[in-house]
C-alpha cells in the first residue's frame, strides 16, 4: 500500500529539503519505490540537493496543467534506480497549482510508487497546505530552537484541520524529526533538549539528526546524505528514521560521535 508523506515545518531553513532527500534515498535503498515531490513552486531546490538540476525538463505544474505526462516529468536518480524526483517549477507561481490537478497527480503517483514524499514550502500558506493536503503521514522537521518549535506547533494544528484526512474525521500520522541537534550544547543546557521539545509538541519522535558538516558536503555535491555519506551520523539517523517510517520499532537514541584524542587536543567546540 502506498503512503503519502509530507515533510513540513512552518519555519524555513530547518532542513525540510535535506530531510526529504535523505529519507527518500534511505527508503529507496531498502528496495521500495520512492518519489520525492518538490512543492516549493518558484523556489525549487530539491533538484539541486539531489543533483538532478541539469536534467529537469518538465515539472509538477506542467503535469498538473496537462502539458506533460507524469512519466515525462519524473527524473530517475542515477545512483539509486528506485528513487525518482518530481521537480517544482522555477518560474511559475503557486497559484498555477490547482487542488484538482494536484489531487490527480497524487493519485497517479500513488499507483506508481510505494512512497510519495512531498517536500513542503516554508510557511503556512496555500503552497504548504497543498503539500500536506493528501498526506497519510507527516514528518515535522524541527530545530531545538524557540521559533522553530512554535512554528511546528502551528503546522501540527494545520495537519489536524486542513488535510483530507482531517476532513474525513481521521488523523494524519505525525512524527517529529529533530534536526541540527547538538548533544553537547543540550547537555550544557544551552539548547532545548529532546525531552523539552517532545514535552511541548507531544507527538512521537521519529529521529534525532545531529548537526553535522556531512550535510553541507552532501548538498555541495548534489547527493542525499544517506547516499553521499551513508556511515555518517546524520545518515545513520535518517536510515533509522526511514526504518521507523516503514513500521519497525526501534529505540531512538541521541547520536554521538566518539570523541577522539584530536578532538580533545583541539578542544573542538560544538
Amino acid at each position: 500500500m502506498s503512503k503519502v508523506l509530507v515533510v513540513t515545518s512552518g519555519k524555513g531553513g530547518v532542513g525540510k529539503t535535506t530531510s526529504t532527500a535523505a529519507l527518500g534515498a534511505a527508503l529507496a535503498q531498502s528496495g521500495q519505490n520512492v518519489v520525492v515531490v518538490d512543492f516549493d513552486v518558484g523556489l525549487r531546490n530539491l533538484d539541486l540537493v539531489m543533483g538532478a538540476e541539469r536534467r529537469v525538463v518538465f515539472d509538477l505544474i506542467n503535469v498538473v496543467q496537462g502539458d506533460a505526462r507524469l512519466s515525462q516529468a519524473l527524473i530517475r536518480d542515477k545512483r539509486c534506480e528506485t528513487l525518482s524526483i518530481l521537480p517544482a517549477s522555477q518560474t511559475r507561481d503557486k497559484d498555477a497549482l490547482t487542488s484538482e490537478g494536484v489531487a490527480r497527480v497524487m493519485d497517479e503517483l500513488r499507483e506508481k510508487f510505494d512512497w510519495v514524499i512531498c517536500d513542503s514550502p516554508a510557511g503556512i500558506e496555500r503552497g504548504a497546505q497543498l503539500a500536506m493536503y493528501h498526506a497519510d503521514m507527516a514528518v515535522i522537521v524541527t530545530n531545538p530552537e524557540v521559533s522553530s518549535v512554535r512554528d511546528s506547533d502551528r503546522i501540527i494544528g494545520l495537519l489536524d484541520s486542513k488535510t483530507k484526512k482531517a476532513e474525513q474525521g481521521e488523523k494524519v500520522d505525525k512524527h517529529l524529526l529533530l534536526t541540527r541537534y547538538d548533544p553537547a550544547r543540550a547537555a550544557r543546557k544551552e539548547m532545548l533538549s529532546v525531552e523539552d521539545v517532545l514535552e511541548i509538541l507531544s507527538i512521537p519522535l521519529l529521529g534525532i539528526v545531529p548537526e553535522s558538516e556531512d550535510v553541507l558536503k552532501s548538498s555541495n555535491v548534489g547527493a542525499p546524505v544517506t547516499l553521499a555519506a551513508p556511515t555518517s551520523l546524520p545518515a545513520r539517523a535518517y536510515f533509522e528514521a526511514a526504518r521507523r517510517l516503514s513500521g519497525e520499532k526501534l529505540e531512538v537514541s541521541v547520536p554521538v560521535e566518539k570523541r577522539g584524542f584530536l578532538d580533545w587536543l583541539f578542544k573542538r567546540d560544538a
Binding site: 541539469r54 536534467r55 529537469v56 512519466s71 555541495n220
Partner: protein
C-alpha cells in the same frame, strides 16, 4: 601536517563542486531571463519534432521520453520515441 592538508583538500573539493554546479545552473537560469525561455525552446523543439513524427506514425505520448542534460558549454536534448512494431514493419515492407 599532511592530515590537515587532507581535510582541507576534501573541503575544497566539495565546495568547488558546489560552485561549478551553481555556475552552470545559474548561467542557464539567467540566460532564460528569469522566465522559462530555455524550457520554452525545449518545448518548441519537442512539439515540432513530434509533429514531424506524427505525420508518419501514430505516437503514444506515454511512449515519448525527453531527457535534457545541461552542460557548461552545451546542453543535450534527447527525445526517445517508441515506434509501434506493426507500423515500422509496414513502412519497410
Amino acid at each position: 601536517m599532511s592530515f590537515l592538508a587532507n581535510i582541507f583538500a576534501r573541503r575544497q573539493q566539495s565546495s568547488s563542486v558546489a560552485k561549478d554546479r551553481l555556475q552552470i545552473l545559474l548561467a542557464h537560469e539567467r540566460s532564460a531571463g528569469g522566465e522559462s525561455g530555455e524550457s520554452d525552446l525545449i518545448r518548441q523543439l519537442h512539439k515540432e519534432i513530434m509533429e514531424v513524427i506524427a505525420r508518419h506514425v501514430a505516437v503514444d505520448q506515454d511512449k515519448v521520453q525527453i531527457k535534457v542534460d545541461r552542460g557548461s558549454g552545451c546542453s543535450m536534448l534527447e527525445i526517445d520515441v517508441e515506434v509501434p512494431q506493426e507500423l515500422s514493419g509496414k513502412r519497410t515492407s
